[in-house]
C-alpha cells in the first residue's frame, strides 16, 4: 500500500483531536470562575474525605487482567489465519485441503486446555 493511502487516517486523527481539544478549551474559557476552597476539595457528598485515594488496596480481577494479556495475544494470532484461510485450504493442485483447519484446531485446542485450566483453578471470578 502506498504511503498516501494513510493520509486520511492522519487527517482523521488531526480533526478528531482538534475538535475534542476545542471543546475542552471552550470549557475552560466560557464558564464562570468562582473558586472556593470548599469547592476544590474532593466530592464526597458533604463529608470530610478520610484517608488518601492513593492508598494501596486489593484489586479485584487482577488475575483476569493477566489472563487478558495472554488471550489477547493468542486471539491476535488468529487474525492472519482467518484472512489467509482460503489460501491455506487449497493444495497446489487446486483440491480442498484440511491443512489450515487442522493447524488452527491444534492451536485452539491448546487455548481451550489453557482456558479449562484457569477455569478449574478458579482464576476467573471474584478472587
Amino acid at each position: 500500500m502506498q504511503l498516501a493511502a494513510y493520509i486520511p487516517a492522519g487527517v482523521v486523527f488531526l480533526l478528531s483531536l482538534g475538535f475534542v481539544g476545542l471543546l475542552m478549551c471552550a470549557a475552560i474559557f466560557l464558564g464562570p470562575k468562582k473558586l472556593t476552597a470548599e469547592k476544590l476539595t474532593s466530592f464526597e457528598c458533604g463529608s470530610e474525605p478520610i484517608g488518601s485515594p492513593r492508598a494501596r488496596f486489593s484489586v479485584k480481577f487482577y488475575q483476569v487482567a493477566i489472563l487478558f494479556l495472554i488471550f489477547d495475544v493468542e486471539s491476535a494470532f488468529m487474525y492472519p489465519w482467518v484472512v489467509n484461510f482460503r489460501e491455506l485450504s487449497y493444495t497446489p493442485a487446486g483440491a480442498v485441503s484440511w491443512f489450515g483447519f487442522t493447524e488452527m484446531a491444534l492451536f485452539v485446542g491448546m487455548l481451550v486446555v489453557a482456558l479449562t485450566y484457569v477455569w478449574r483453578k478458579k482464576a476467573i471470578g471474584w478472587d
Binding site: 486520511p8 487478558f68 482467518v82
Partner: protein, 369 residues
C-alpha cells in the same frame, strides 16, 4: 496529495458533523424521552423556542448551551494535566474509529446522472469511507482500546476514592470484553475473507440472505453483546450507573463531564454503524443494485446519483434503528453484578466464539469454500 487531504477532511466533516454529532446529541434527549414512554411518564417535553416545541426535541440545544456555560474546574488535589487529558482520550478514539465505516457507495462524479453498468463499475470514483485499509477492523480494535486509558486515567487523576474505584471497574470490564469482542467477529471475517469493512459490505451485497446476520447469526449475537459491554451501558453499566453507581467522572464539571457523557452517546452511534456494516449489509438496500431495483422479474432503472442517495439514507436508517434498539435494551434489562459480568464474558461468550470460528471453518471446507 492536497486533494487526498481535503477529501478526507470533507468526508470526516460530512460524517461526523452532519450525521454522528447531531444524532448523538439527539440521543441524549431520545434516551430520556424513550425511557419515559416505556415507564408511562412524559419525560422531557418542555424546551421550546417561542411557540416551536417539537415534543421537546430542543432539549439537546438547551443541554449543550447550559453545559458550555457551566463552571469547569479542576479539584485542588487532582493531577491537572491528566485530569484535562482524560476526556480527550475517552472521546477522540470513537471519532477516529468512524474512519473505517463505509457510509455510502463509491461515487463516480462524471457518471452522476447516467445509469451504471450492472456488471462493471467505471474505474476510479470516490468511496464514501474515510480510511480504507486491509487491516480495517484491527485499526478499530487498536483505536478503541485507547479509550480505556481515558476512563482509567479520569478515575486516577481525580484524587477521589469513588472515582478511582469506578475507573478500575471500567478497566476490568473493558479488558474482560476486548478478547471476546475480537474473537466473536472472527467467524464473519472467515466467511468474507477480509478485515476491511468496505470489502465486507461489498461481499454482503443487496441480498439479505447473504448478509452477516443470516450467515453468522451467532457471531452477531456475541459481538453485539460484547460491543454493548464495551460502551459501558446497562445492563453492563457497572463502572458508572447514572442514578446510583458513582463512576470515574465524579469530579468532572461543566463540559468536562459533558465530554464523557457525549462520548457514551457517540459510542452508541458507532456500535450501530459497526453492526450495520458488519452484519446488516452496510448501506445496501434489499433488491437495489447499482443500476436500479430488481424484484424477481420486475426491474426499475435508476441513475447513479439516485442510487447513491438512497444507499446513504439506508445506512442512516439502519444506524438509527440500532441506536433505538440499544436504548430499548438499556431500559429493559437489569444490571449485572461484576462477577456475573466476568463470568458471562470469559465462561460463556469466549468458548462460544471459539466454537463458532472452528465450526464456521469446518462448514466452509465441507461446502468446498
Amino acid at each position: 496529495m492536497l486533494m487526498i487531504f481535503l477529501l478526507g477532511a470533507l468526508k470526516w466533516l460530512g460524517l461526523i458533523m452532519v450525521f454522528v454529532m447531531p444524532v448523538a446529541s439527539l440521543l441524549t434527549w431520545a434516551e430520556r424521552r424513550q425511557s419515559a414512554m416505556m415507564q408511562d411518564r412524559l419525560g422531557p417535553n418542555r424546551a421550546n423556542i417561542g411557540s416551536v416545541r417539537i415534543w421537546g426535541i430542543l432539549h439537546f440545544v438547551a443541554d449543550a448551551v447550559k453545559m458550555l456555560f457551566k463552571e469547569d474546574f479542576v479539584p485542588a488535589k487532582a493531577h491537572k494535566t491528566l485530569f484535562r487529558l482524560a476526556p480527550v482520550l475517552a472521546f477522540a478514539p470513537v471519532l477516529i474509529a468512524f474512519a473505517i465505516i463505509p457510509f455510502g457507495p463509491t461515487i463516480h462524479v462524471d457518471h452522476l446522472f447516467k445509469v451504471l453498468d450492472p456488471y462493471s463499475a467505471p474505474s476510479g470514483g470516490e468511496r464514501l469511507q474515510i480510511f480504507t485499509a486491509e487491516f480495517g477492523m484491527l485499526f478499530y480494535f487498536a483505536i478503541a482500546s485507547i479509550a480505556n486509558y481515558g476512563t482509567t486515567l479520569a478515575g486516577w487523576a481525580s484524587y477521589n476514592k469513588w472515582a478511582l474505584l469506578g475507573g478500575l471497574r471500567a478497566s476490568s470490564q473493558m479488558m474482560a470484553y476486548e478478547v471476546t469482542m475480537g474473537l466473536a467477529v472472527l467467524g464473519m471475517f472467515l466467511v468474507t475473507g477480509t478485515l476491511e469493512p468496505g470489502a465486507m459490505v461489498d461481499w454482503q451485497g443487496p441480498n439479505p440472505l447473504h448478509w452477516g446476520i443470516t450467515v453468522q447469526p451467532l457471531a452477531f449475537l456475541l459481538f453485539f453483546t460484547a460491543a454493548i459491554a464495551e460502551t459501558k451501558r446497562a445492563p453492563f453499566d457497572i463502572p458508572e450507573g447514572e442514578p446510583e453507581v458513582i463512576g470515574y467522572f465524579l469530579e468532572y464539571s461543566g463540559l468536562g463531564f459533558g465530554t464523557f457523557f457525549l462520548a457514551e452517546f457517540v459510542e452508541i452511534v458507532f456500535v450501530g454503524a459497526l453492526m450495520t456494516t458488519v452484519f446488516f449489509g452496510g448501506y445496501h438496500i434489499p433488491g437495489l443494485y447499482q443500476n436500479g431495483f430488481y424484484f424477481g422479474d420486475w426491474f426499475f432503472e435508476l441513475p447513479h446519483v439516485v442510487v447513491a442517495v438512497l444507499q446513504v439514507h439506508a445506512f442512516i436508517f439502519k444506524v438509527i434503528f440500532f441506536c433505538w434498539f440499544q436504548l430499548l435494551i438499556r431500559w429493559t434489562l437489569p444490571r449485572f453484578r461484576p462477577d456475573q459480568l466476568i463470568h458471562l464474558g470469559w465462561k460463556k461468550i469466549l468458548p462460544m466464539s471459539l466454537a463458532n470460528v472452528m465450526i464456521t471453518a469446518a462448514v466452509l471446507l465441507w461446502l468446498g469454500l
